[in-house]
Symmetry: C2
Subunit: 323 residues, 2 copies
């Protein structure tokens, strides 16, 4: 066990995942709490502190013993301030998440974009370790992307990586972002659920919503989709197939532009459906790849649900600043 | 006039453009010759030497006085060897262009990808000078792309920048590359000409082919398209409009992924149609931009027809190695 400890928080729309790691990146403790669905930044802040205290408790250390805490947050992150976090309750305008958390925890806090830190975690510790350049594709409620080029994160002017809003069909399906024909309009779990509801209203049969109710869910979670596929639910297969086709076209477009070594498929659905579906996505990319004889490797994320929190902790560690 | 001189060659499918520049990047002489339409690499090589000798003559220097010569070539460029140059006659397999030219000219030769060197020319000397990161889009027979990130060319594993083969419509129009739905299938001059022929056969009226014949051309050149637009030819307007819509979606997708500071529109059509059409492309990008309130600047290439040859010469100069 290394002597210096760090905390990492993955702040998601449905859950807050916390880890405590040592400087060899070993997880010493972890905890998960639901993200408040009501209230505002203050309520979210309180839950983050709770989650971190629980993870520290599991690691048998005090939060004040941590060298620092990293947070991967949705929305636009600028110098510790978070805005446009549409998935979080009452998060209108900008909120100084880093400084408020520092006050609450008594330790140094750094905040990064959730998708970017998860990509860096896979690059440093996960499926991306053998590669210099990679594209992380996070297939969940939305479709997010993170980019590593020659060992360094590429964030552009702060908004790079929006692979979910690459256009795969001009004038196509309406996206949850309000635009048309985005990859996310076909492959985001939110859009897929809306599509399933539309087809259900048109008289198509599916077990998806029954599976949801039986599990006590109010949304078609990744687990619900995986179960429906296991049961060979025709409608679920059709919608997932459509998502895989869109992911193939969108990711191939990104590869034609960037020619990275590797594509990592993560996110709730990506991790849940696993390497079999990562391979299906690779197959679906192939007809669109310009350098068809040199496709990138396509791998499922190796860090699973902890990738985001681990990547957040890496915001504080030296290994993340190398290269 | 600087004391060290360089040569630059833009090797295109229809023309070979040569320049001689000094180390302040001033053009001292230039010459243009048609690319041979028959024969093979040896014939192309002879014409490159002729073009360079003519440019040197115009600059009143001997080719052997040049510090070196750069070539921007189509196809795949690997350590001075050029392969897959589909636009050049009889260019099957790989040809050691750099070493053969060195033998023929008696000076050092470096070969780079045509689109990438043209992008670097715009970055160093042209419309891209105010920016750290940019996407060059070369709108001509095909649609090529070059990428500069934080002052450095990004070429991936050697095949990056293929913006023309980003998918803008899954299952859409057949591209000249054999794939479906590529940006180039809507916006490449080759595909646009085929589309015009199809609509003509269906009984649509157009002056495009009459203008082509009157100019003694066998292809719908950029000049023919520009003239037809001037004459308000409805079919030409419709096809260009379709191309601009596809360029808007494809370039916006690239910007959503990379978040560059600036997009430079070059290439035969891009330069010929000018800033008015660059602005139309920007307007067409807007509905697809995820960070809609921070669009990149969109500018027409400033170096015009000489950009490729200037960029090739930059392969030899020190300024190109800075970052």
């Amino acid at each position: 066990m290394g002597s210096v400890l760090y905390g990492g928080i993955d702040l998601g729309g449905t859950k807050i995942q916390a880890v405590v790691i040592d400087d060899d990146n070993h997880v010493l403790g972890s905890a998960r709490r639901p993200t408040p669905s009501q209230g505002g930044p203050a309520e979210v802040l309180a839950e983050i502190c709770q989650a971190l205290h629980s993870a520290a408790g599991a690691a048998d250390v005090d939060v004040r013993a941590l060298r620092g805490v990293g947070v991967g947050s949705p929305g636009i992150v600028d110098d510790g301030n978070v805005s446009s976090a549409r998935n979080l309750p009452g998060w209108d305008g900008s909120f100084p998440l880093a400084s408020r958390l520092e006050q609450g925890l008594g330790v140094q806090v750094k905040v990064g974009n959730d998708v970017q830190v998860a990509t860096e975690a896979e690059f440093e510790l996960g499926a991306g370790r053998p590669y210099a350049s990679l594209l992380g594709v996070f297939w969940g409620t939305g479709v997010g992307g993170g980019i590593i080029l020659n060992g360094k994160a590429w964030v552009g002017r702060g908004a790079a990586g929006e692979i979910g809003h690459m256009v795969v069909r001009i004038g196509g399906a309406l996206c949850t972002c309000g635009r048309r024909g985005c990859l996310e309009a076909y492959a985001g779990r939110g859009a897929m659920e809306q599509h399933a509801q539309r087809l259900l209203r048109k008289g198509r049969k599916t077990e998806l919503f029954e599976l949801m109710r039986r599990r006590g869910r109010t949304r078609l979670t990744s687990g619900v989709w995986a179960r429906a596929l296991d049961q060979e639910d025709k409608l679920a297969q059709q919608i997932i197939e459509r998502a895989v086709r869109a992911l193939g076209a969108g990711i191939a477009s990104a590869v034609n532009l960037l020619d990275v070594d590797c594509v990592i498929i993560g996110g709730g659905l990506g991790v849940r459906l696993g390497q079999d579906y990562a391979t299906r996505i690779a197959t679906s990319m192939q007809p669109h790849l310009f350098a068809a004889d040199a496709p990138p490797d396509v791998r499922v994320a190796a860090l699973g649900d902890l990738g985001g929190a681990l990547g957040a902790a890496l915001l504080l560690t030296a290994s993340n600043k190398a290269s």
